[in-house]
């Protein structure tokens, strides 16, 4: 793998302006940052454009100006090296768990048989063995998000984007899934080198990330860049976490 300081993603001068009935609303204002091999969290007040930024990074949305570079190559459309996990899970209701995971694999060049094998492996990895033929509506919220995670991981992405991945879940389930995602992140068997997680939960960001970018309200600008230099595994009760949290919260409000 590449040197850990070399950027995997470069976000350059990103600006996003919406035009609506003659009025223009700028949600992202000239944002630049780099993502090396790390777990990056982006926090900010709700409606500040965090999710828009994540969509632009995946190529789902286009910036008004600026660009996103993945290993130096501009990202203009979704690619298989970047996986996404959605807040609302975004599972196709008429596809089974297996179908939902397989659906993403068509992006890669592997054969049908291989797709089935890979999909099954990742369903197992997220603890959903035996639910392959279930439909999303038969699953609990936590299980649905596991499918979402399996779908993203099955691509063996180098970058994993997460948009408020735990905020639709109840507190207990969210806590379990957070730990599992961290386990996957630290497990060398997974090729994912960079994670970008958008959240409005500052405690969650501090607990999980190596670095936290703090955005201001509309239009969003980077107001702070906090390295969380704590060893893993971390404890939720570590008092240092509260210091970081207080510092970031004071920047937002």
């Amino acid at each position: 793998m590449s040197d850990s300081t070399e950027p995997i993603l470069e976000i350059k001068n990103l600006t996003k302006t919406y035009f609506n009935e003659g009025k223009s609303i700028t949600v992202l204002d000239n944002i630049s940052f780099q993502v090396p091999k790390e777990f990056l969290a982006i926090v900010g007040p709700s409606g500040c454009g965090k999710s828009t930024m994540l969509r632009i990074i995946d190529g789902l949305d286009t910036p008004t100006s600026g660009e996103v570079l993945f290993h130096g190559q501009p990202v203009t459309a979704p690619i298989s090296k970047i996986g996404v996990i959605f807040q609302s899970f975004a599972l196709i209701p008429w596809k089974t768990v297996l179908g939902n995971v397989e659906m993403a694999l068509a992006m890669t060049s592997i054969s049908k048989d291989e797709q089935l094998k890979v999909a099954k492996k990742y369903i197992q990895d997220v603890g959903l063995e035996g639910f392959e033929t279930s439909y999303p509506k038969e699953l609990s919220g936590g299980m649905k998000q596991r499918v979402g995670i399996a779908r993203a991981l099955a691509l063996q992405p180098e970058v994993l984007l997460m948009d408020e991945p735990f905020s639709s879940l109840d507190a207990l389930t969210a806590e379990t899934l957070r730990r599992e995602v961290l386990d996957i992140w630290t497990d060398q068997a997974y090729p994912t080198n960079a994670v970008i997680m958008v959240t409005h939960n500052v405690q969650e960001a501090v607990y999980m990330a190596d670095r936290v970018l703090v955005l201001s309200g509309r239009p969003a600008k980077i107001v702070d860049d906090v390295a969380i230099s704590l060893p893993r595994p971390r404890s939720q009760r570590d008092p240092t976490l509260y210091d970081y949290t207080d510092r970031i919260v004071s920047k937002i409000s």
Partner: protein, 538 residues
């Protein structure tokens, strides 16, 4: 028509509020409403006309009959709307007004009327739609036995111009009609609808849609979901409601303990369906018994009735007619499904196509299908000298005009309503092009296609009555007909013997209802079961 509307409105308010607020009265009034509503309006058109025209001076009688018929077509939606509106007043509001001593007339004015206002506006929109549908038929209504001067109105002008082979003039009259309809939409219903928003009880603020366009589409979807011109086919609606709740209950029962609430709901819905069938049966028996009784014939007499059918039509003919109607509806349905799916996909894929097509559809759907009839006759039937193929083609086109919008607005609504997260997930994981259409768009709109199909078939059966038998105002003795249940109904109503008329009409309606129910059971019920899977979660 305006007169009929205000009559309908007054009736709806009085009847609706009494029914909804007086518990005892509702036991009588609600079933009564159900029975009254089940009477097929179009089927009784001739009877009502003859009654008024023979008992009053022709001109007056005719106007009167027209108003009564439009009234009967308009009145049900607002009446049910008022009942729903009163029932929707939240318990806490009721208690609060009791606590603060708001009662009697002031309760009516301050609480009840505002509460029913949104439903009233909405159902009025439906009522006007139904009214516009009837107007072109009524204005040129006539029968061989009783030649009637047509009522002066736009429907008449379109028909007369078409009959004189004056295409530009008839198109002009049509354009004027559409302009009037659109103008009333813009000037009356839209402002009223905007005002109605204020009176809605909602716990959560409704999200603002991104612009007017979407609003129009969803209005149209709702409109087509609820518009049923001839109440006989509201059968379908009940059938559907009972089906889906049954399905839900069955589905839930297997997995969880079914809560009492759902079970009760299931029972009431089933009750409504049976009530409908029973009330319909009572109405039929009344017709069969009362008419012979009035004419002094012993009401003996299924045998008698069967005899009448045999001599007047013959069973073979009825079966043949039913097959004819079925085949034409099916053809029109296939055409409608094909083009609406295409249009739906196009609208979903390209913003430009959507901007171009949606206003066109908007105008298109506002044309009452019946106003198109004379023009289609002029363009297709006349040039080919009553050739059977041309006649059938014309009839299919007329059916299409009555069926396609149900499908279109359901399909477009479903495609527009696809949740953004699904679209993004598909895009993020590389599903596009043909795969997107096959794996996302079509499955996502499958329930809507099904609902639209069921409604379109209902609309189609309904339209058979007017699309298989069309009178020509300049040549009353030579109506354009194709063999089908609709034309059988119309011809039967022209028999000189009212008993024979009633018997044959009843037979035709029974065959039609039977066919509809059979298709429901064999086709739609199975498909609905499958559709459960494709429902998007709320």
């Amino acid at each position: 028509m305006t007169l009929a509307y205000f009559l309908a409105l007054a009736f709806a308010l009085a009847y609706g509020i009494t029914t909804a607020m007086n518990h005892k009265a509702s036991h009588v009034l609600l079933p009564l409403l159900d029975v009254l509503q089940s009477v097929p309006v179009l089927g009784f058109l001739p009877v009502v006309f003859i009654f008024f025209v023979t008992n009053l001076p022709v001109q007056v009688g005719q106007e009167f009959a027209s108003i009564i018929l439009i009234f009967t077509a308009m009145v049900w939606a607002p009446t049910f709307g008022v009942i729903a509106g009163v029932n929707a007043i939240p318990q806490d509001i009721k208690e609060a007004s009791r606590a603060y001593g708001v009662k009697g007339l002031s309760y009516l004015r301050q609480i009840v009327l505002p509460a029913v206002f949104p439903e009233l506006v909405w159902s009025s929109l439906l009522a006007w739609g139904g009214g516009w549908y009837l107007i072109p038929i009524e204005e040129v209504f006539s029968f061989p036995g009783h030649p009637l001067p047509p009522l002066p109105g736009l429907g008449y002008y379109i028909a007369a111009a078409a009959s004189n082979r004056d295409l530009p003039l008839s198109l002009l009259a049509l354009a004027v009609l559409v302009l009037i309809i659109l103008a009333i939409d813009e000037l009356v219903w839209k402002p009223l609808g905007a005002r109605a928003e204020k009176y809605k009880y909602e716990s959560v603020a409704a999200p603002q849609g991104p612009g007017q366009r979407r609003g129009r589409i969803s209005t149209n979807v709702k409109k087509y979901e609820e518009r049923l011109v001839s109440p006989i086919f509201s059968f379908l609606k009940y059938e559907r409601a009972s089906l889906s709740s049954l399905l839900e209950a069955v589905h839930l029962k297997r997995r969880f303990h079914v809560p009492e609430k759902i079970r009760v709901q299931e029972r009431t819905v089933r009750h409504a369906l049976w009530g409908r069938i029973i009330s319909f049966a009572i109405a039929l028996t009344l017709i069969l018994v009362s008419i012979p009784a009035l004419r002094g014939i012993p009401p003996d007499s299924l045998g008698n009735a069967l005899q009448v059918i045999e001599t007047n039509v013959g069973y073979g003919t009825i079966a043949f007619d039913a097959a004819g109607s079925l085949l034409r509806i099916f053809t029109a349905y296939v055409i409608a499904l094909g083009w609406t799916l295409g249009a739906g996909i196009l609208i979903s894929r390209s913003e430009r196509a959507s901007k171009l097509l949606v206003p066109v559809f908007d105008i298109g759907q506002s044309i009452p299908a019946t106003a198109l009839f004379p023009i289609i006759i002029l363009l297709i039937v006349n040039p080919f000298k009553e050739n059977t193929v041309a006649l059938n083609l014309a009839s299919i086109l007329l059916l299409l005009a009555g069926m396609q919008w149900y499908l279109l607005f359901n399909v477009v609504g479903a495609i527009r309503g696809l949740p953004t997260d699904l679209l993004e997930a598909s895009s993020a994981y590389g599903i596009r092009g043909r795969r997107f259409v096959k794996e996302i768009l079509v499955p996502a709109s499958y329930p809507a296609i099904l609902i639209g199909s069921i409604q379109a078939w209902g609309g189609g059966w309904n339209a058979t009555i007017v699309s298989e038998y069309i009178t020509d105002p300049n040549n009353l003795s030579m109506p354009h007909t194709v063999p089908g249940l609709g034309s059988l109904l119309q011809m039967a109503s022209n028999y000189s013997d009212p008993y024979a008329s009633a018997v044959v009409i009843t037979a035709a309606v029974l065959v039609m209802t039977g066919t509809v129910l059979t298709i429901n059971r064999l086709v739609w019920r199975r498909l609905l079961r499958k559709a459960e899977k494709y429902k998007l979660e709320a």
